[in-house]
Symmetry: C2
Subunit: 204 residues, 2 copies
């Protein structure tokens, strides 16, 4: 359609990014063409650099460019508490709340039979090993596991599966609360959130 | 914030793209990290390729990877009619309407005193030369120039400037019509569009 092979290839690659349709990809490609050549070079280089330097932390499977990630490295965090999350990007959300000071474990996905993602595709085996052996193989035993997964079908499935796998291991297992967001108006809350908020009501 | 230099660099470069804020850039960067390494390599390569292969058509300033663009190359287009547009991406919009079969001239921007873009930054000198000398230097004289620019402050300024520059050169100068879009409901049209539609009413 554009009749320029290089431009079509760039549009094609850009449109594979999430939330970028072919129209947006075209707009971005034209922007890149209009920009000085250094911008393409810098973006191109940073794409290669991120793949070369960033890898999984061997302990928690967060991304890192060192031997282990900053949360595993920090000696001041609580080894007895473990927060299980879907993706590395979820860590920042939890960290910025300031309400958790334990360690993390990234599953790198959730169980989704529709997309063919079963427990063996996720870091669940490693999670069970970690709970059985303590955080560092020889560290103190984990006493509490908090599942911070989404409240959708896949998240719920994963929570049920993990609850079954982790039962009888002598840990306190919990899931983060789903309910009315702070500051929002009850008038505008959807039925499922309201249902969950009532179900999980907190005694005063 | 992410504490991984390579990832931060990628987020920074991505967030310079139009319509991509730092949140979206972060989401894209995490997606790129999750993807197989080949994706980064292909995207990286296509960025370099587009800068290496694509350049301005020497005649109309559309993008091309050949000696001249497909619209300048086509011998079946009308040399006497010239459509002036802001960006190469506007050509596709006009082409897909099927209502124009002449040649194009891309200004590569519009006059914007606020952003410091004055006539000498645009391909206006080349437009005037083209009109004075015919499309190919020796080709038939241009008889009609259609300005297909936006109806905003910058577009209007550019139209006024071009009208002044091109007056007395014996060409028919027009501007594409702004009015009610086909299929839309008069109830929902904004005041300025309605004002323009009334002003430019067409006699029956």
């Amino acid at each position: 359609m554009l009749n320029i092979a290089a431009l079509e290839q760039l549009v094609h690659e850009l449109s594979r990014l999430p939330g970028i349709g072919s129209k947006t990809a075209q707009r971005l490609a034209y922007y890149i063409l209009r920009s000085p050549a250094e911008y393409s070079e810098r973006l191109s280089e940073s794409l290669l650099r991120v793949q070369a330097e960033v890898h999984s932390c061997p302990k928690c499977f967060n991304y890192t460019d060192k031997d282990q990630c900053k949360y595993c490295e920090d000696p001041h965090r609580n080894d007895e508490s473990l927060c299980v999350i879907e993706e590395p990007s979820d860590i920042m959300r939890i960290e910025s709340s300031g309400a958790f000071r334990g360690r993390y474990h990234v599953l790198h996905g959730v169980i989704s039979p529709l997309e063919g993602i079963s427990p063996q595709h996720l870091k669940i085996k490693e999670l069970i090993q970690k709970i059985e052996n303590g955080q560092n193989g020889e560290g103190p035993a984990i006493r509490e596991v908090i599942l911070a997964l989404d409240a959708d079908l896949e998240g719920d499935t994963t929570v049920l599966y993990l609850a079954k796998q982790l039962s009888g291991k002598g840990i306190r297992l919990s899931r983060i609360a789903h309910g009315i967001p702070i500051g929002s108006d009850i008038d505008y809350i959807d039925d499922r959130t309201m249902g969950r908020a009532l179900e999980n009501r907190v005694e005063l």
